[in-house]
C-alpha cells in the first residue's frame, strides 16, 4: 500500500501550504518579535531584545484588570451562547420539514451578513437610554424610569452573544445532523424520556461539536474589538481595544504587540484547558 502512494499529488499542495503559512505565520512572527522590542518616542523602536514589556504588562494592575475582565466577559458569553445554541441547533437538526430547516439555517446565518459596525449600531439603537428596549419596558410598566443598558458589561455580553450564536448553532447543528435519530428512539424505547435521552445520548455524542463551538466562541469573544468599543463605551476596557489603543493611538508598537501576544497565549491556554476538561468528562 505505502509504495503505491501518490506523492505527485502531495507535491502540488506544497506551494499552497507555503503561501498559507507565509500569510498566517509571518504577521505572528513579526508581532512576537516586536513584543520583545522597546518603544522610543523618537525612533519608535530601539531594535533591542528584552522581556521588559511583559514584566511591565503583567505587573500593571490596569492590564491585569483588563485581562481578567476580558476573560470573564468571554467566558460568560460563551456559556450563555452554548446554553442557547444547543437547544436551537437540536431543534433545527431534528425538524421534519426540509423547507423549514433550510429557512432556519438561513435565518441563523443572516446576522453574519451584517457587518460588525452595522450590527453594533443596531444594538445601540435598541439599548440606548431612549432606545427601543427602554421604551418597551416603560410602556408595559416593567420599569418607572429608563435604565442604563448601553455602556454596561451586560450590554457587551448581550451583543457578543448575538455575534457568536450563529457560529455556535451552525457548528453544533452539523454535528447533531450526524447523530442518527434511531439512537434517540432506542433511548426512549429503553425508558428514557425524550429530554433525558437528549442528555444521555445526544449530548455525549455531540461533545466534539460542543467543544469546537465553545472554543470558537471563546476565542472570538476574547479578541472582540468593535463590540466592546461601541457597546461597552469608553469605560469598558477589553484586550482587543487595548491592543489597538497602544498601536494606533499611542504608537507604541512593541507594547501593543506584547498585549496581543499575552491575549493570544491566555486564549490558547484557557481554550486548551477547558477542552481537556470537557473531553475527559465525556470521552
Amino acid at each position: 500500500m505505502r509504495e503505491g502512494r501518490n506523492w505527485g499529488g502531495s507535491a502540488l499542495v506544497v506551494p499552497a501550504l507555503f503561501l498559507v503559512a507565509a500569510f498566517l505565520l509571518a504577521p505572528l512572527a513579526l508581532i512576537l518579535r516586536y513584543s520583545f522590542d522597546k518603544y522610543d518616542p523618537v525612533k519608535l523602536m530601539l531594535g533591542i531584545f528584552s522581556p521588559g514589556n511583559y514584566v511591565q504588562a503583567v505587573a500593571d494592575p490596569f492590564y491585569q484588570n483588563v485581562l481578567s475582565t476580558t476573560a470573564y466577559i468571554a467566558a460568560l458569553s460563551t456559556v450563555i451562547v452554548m446554553l442557547l445554541a444547543f437547544p436551537v441547533a437540536y431543534y433545527i437538526s431534528r425538524v421534519e420539514s426540509q423547507r423549514l430547516r433550510g429557512w432556519l439555517i438561513i435565518l441563523t446565518m443572516l446576522p453574519l451578513l451584517l457587518g460588525n459596525a452595522v450590527r453594533s449600531a443596531a444594538w445601540m439603537i435598541v439599548m440606548g437610554t431612549k432606545g427601543v428596549a427602554n421604551a418597551v419596558m416603560l410602556g408595559v410598566g416593567l420599569i418607572e424610569e429608563p435604565i442604563k443598558i448601553l455602556y454596561t458589561p451586560t450590554a457587551v455580553v448581550i451583543a457578543l452573544v448575538s455575534v457568536l450564536l450563529p457560529f455556535a448553532i451552525i457548528t453544533l447543528q452539523s454535528v447533531m445532523d450526524a447523530i442518527p435519530t434511531s439512537l434517540e428512539e432506542a433511548g426512549q424505547s429503553l425508558g428514557h424520556s425524550p429530554l433525558r435521552t437528549v442528555f444521555e445520548v445526544v449530548l455525549p455524542l455531540a461533545m466534539p461539536g460542543v467543544v469546537a463551538a465553545a472554543a470558537i466562541s471563546f476565542a472570538l469573544a476574547m479578541n472582540a474589538y468593535a463590540t466592546p468599543v461601541l457597546i461597552g463605551g469608553p469605560t469598558m476596557k477589553m484586550m482587543g481595544p487595548a491592543v489597538y489603543d497602544q498601536i494606533a493611538k499611542a504608537n507604541n508598537w512593541p507594547f501593543g504587540s506584547t498585549l496581543a501576544c499575552i491575549l493570544m497565549v491566555v486564549t490558547l491556554v484557557l481554550t486548551v484547558l477547558s477542552t481537556r476538561f470537557l473531553s475527559r468528562k465525556y470521552f
Binding site: P180, S182, L183, A186, L190, S193
Partner: protein, 347 residues
C-alpha cells in the same frame, strides 16, 4: 407478559393512509411477523405499537391496558432497530445497562442482570468492547440483550436481519427464534422476506397498501390464501382468468370449464394452483387440465421449472422433480393437469 391487541388502527399522512384500519390480536408469547412489500405500512404499524407514531384512529392495548396515548418511554417495550442503533459512546455492557438505571434498579440488581443478559447472548467476553468493534451478528445479539434487559412486555423487531449476509441471516434468525421462545415474550417482527417470515413466525400478517390482507400460519397463507395478492406474495402461483359459474365450477376466458375446491361467489375471478401441483401429461382430462405449449425449461438441480403458455395466452409455471428420460422439451405441446383439491379461486 401480555398479548397485544390492535383495534382498527389507522395512520394517515395527508391523504395517504399508511396504515388503514388494521386489527390484530397478538397472543401472549407469540412471534408474529408483519410481511408485505415496501411501503405497505409494516414499519408504521410497528411504530404505533412502540409508541413512536400516534394512531390517527383506533387503540393499542398491552394485555388489558390501553396504551394508545402512553409515550414510548412509559410503555415497557423492547425494540431491536434496523441497523441496531447501539450507542457508540458506550461499551457493550453499558449499552445493555442503559434501560436499567432509569428504572431505579439498585446497583447489585443491575450488575446481575447485565451479566445474565450478556451470558444469554454469549457476549460476556466482549462486555467492555465498543459496539463499533463488533461484527454484524455480534451487534445484533447486543441489541437483543439491550432490548430484553428491562423485562419488556413486548419485543419489537424492525427488519432485524437486513444488514446481515445471507448465511449469517439464516443463523441469526434461528438464534433469535430460540431466544424468543426461551423468554416466552410476545414479539412482533417486520420483514419483506416471505421465507424469513415463514421460517420463524408463529403467525404471519400479510399487509398490502396499509391494509391487513390476511393473518394466519404459514400453512394457512400458502394453502388457503384469501386474495390474489396473498396467493402471489406467499410462494409462486398460477392464475387462470375467468369467472365462477356455480359451486366448484369455473369457466376460463375462452370458455373452457374447470373445477375447484372451496367456496366462491359467482362472478369474475381467477383459478389458481401452485407450480408444484401441476403435472405435464400428454392426456387431457376434462375439469382440471389445460392444453399448453412448453416455452422454456429451467433446470434447477432437484427440480426443473417449465414455463408454459396456454391457448388463451395465460402464462403458467410448473415445477417437477428432475427426471432424465422423456422429460418435456421446449416447443412440446402437452396438457397441464392438477388435482381439483389443489385448485382454489381468488378475486
Amino acid at each position: 407478559m401480555a398479548g397485544v391487541t390492535l383495534s382498527n388502527i389507522r395512520k394517515t399522512y395527508g391523504t395517504l393512509a399508511a396504515v388503514d384500519d388494521v386489527s390484530i390480536e397478538i397472543l401472549d408469547g407469540e412471534l408474529l411477523a408483519l410481511l408485505g412489500p415496501s411501503g405497505c405500512g409494516k414499519t408504521t404499524t410497528l411504530r404505533m405499537i412502540a409508541g413512536f407514531v400516534a394512531p390517527t384512529a383506533g387503540t393499542v392495548r398491552f394485555g388489558g391496558r390501553d396504551v394508545t396515548r402512553v409515550p414510548v418511554h412509559k410503555r415497557n417495550v423492547g425494540m431491536v432497530f434496523q441497523g441496531y442503533a447501539l450507542f457508540p459512546h458506550l461499551t457493550v455492557a453499558k449499552n445493555v445497562e442503559f434501560g436499567l438505571k432509569v428504572r431505579g434498579w439498585d446497583k447489585a440488581k443491575i450488575a446481575a442482570r447485565v451479566t445474565e443478559m450478556l451470558h444469554w447472548v454469549q457476549m460476556e467476553a466482549l462486555a467492555e468492547r465498543s459496539p463499533r468493534a463488533l461484527s454484524g451478528g455480534q451487534q445484533q445479539r447486543v441489541a437483543l440483550a439491550r432490548a430484553m434487559a428491562h423485562e419488556p412486555e413486548v419485543l419489537l423487531l424492525d427488519e432485524p436481519f437486513s444488514a446481515l449476509d445471507a448465511k449469517l441471516r439464516g443463523q441469526m434468525r434461528t438464534e433469535i427464534r430460540e431466544l424468543q421462545r426461551q423468554a416466552g415474550i410476545t414479539s412482533v417482527f417486520v420483514t419483506h422476506d416471505q421465507e424469513e417470515a415463514m421460517a420463524i413466525a408463529d403467525r404471519i400478517g400479510v399487509m398490502n397498501h396499509g391494509r391487513l390482507e390476511q393473518l394466519g400460519s404459514a400453512e394457512d397463507l400458502y394453502k388457503r390464501p384469501v386474495s390474489r395478492f396473498v396467493a402471489g406474495f406467499i410462494g409462486k402461483c398460477n392464475f387462470i382468468e375467468g369467472h365462477v359459474t356455480g359451486p366448484g365450477r369455473f369457466e376460463t376466458a375462452n370458455g373452457q370449464a374447470l373445477q375447484f375446491s372451496g367456496e366462491h361467489s359467482i362472478g369474475p375471478a381467477a383459478l389458481c394452483f401452485r407450480p408444484e401441483h401441476g403435472v405435464l401429461t400428454p392426456l387431457a382430462t376434462p375439469g382440471n387440465s389445460l392444453p399448453v405449449t412448453v416455452k422454456a425449461v429451467t433446470y434447477l438441480g432437484p427440480v426443473t421449472e417449465y414455463d408454459l403458455v396456454s391457448e388463451a395466452g395465460n402464462r403458467l409455471l410448473v415445477s417437477a422433480s428432475s427426471s432424465g428420460e422423456g422429460a418435456p422439451k421446449e416447443g412440446d405441446k402437452l396438457s397441464v393437469a392438477w388435482s381439483i383439491g389443489d385448485a382454489f379461486v381468488v378475486d
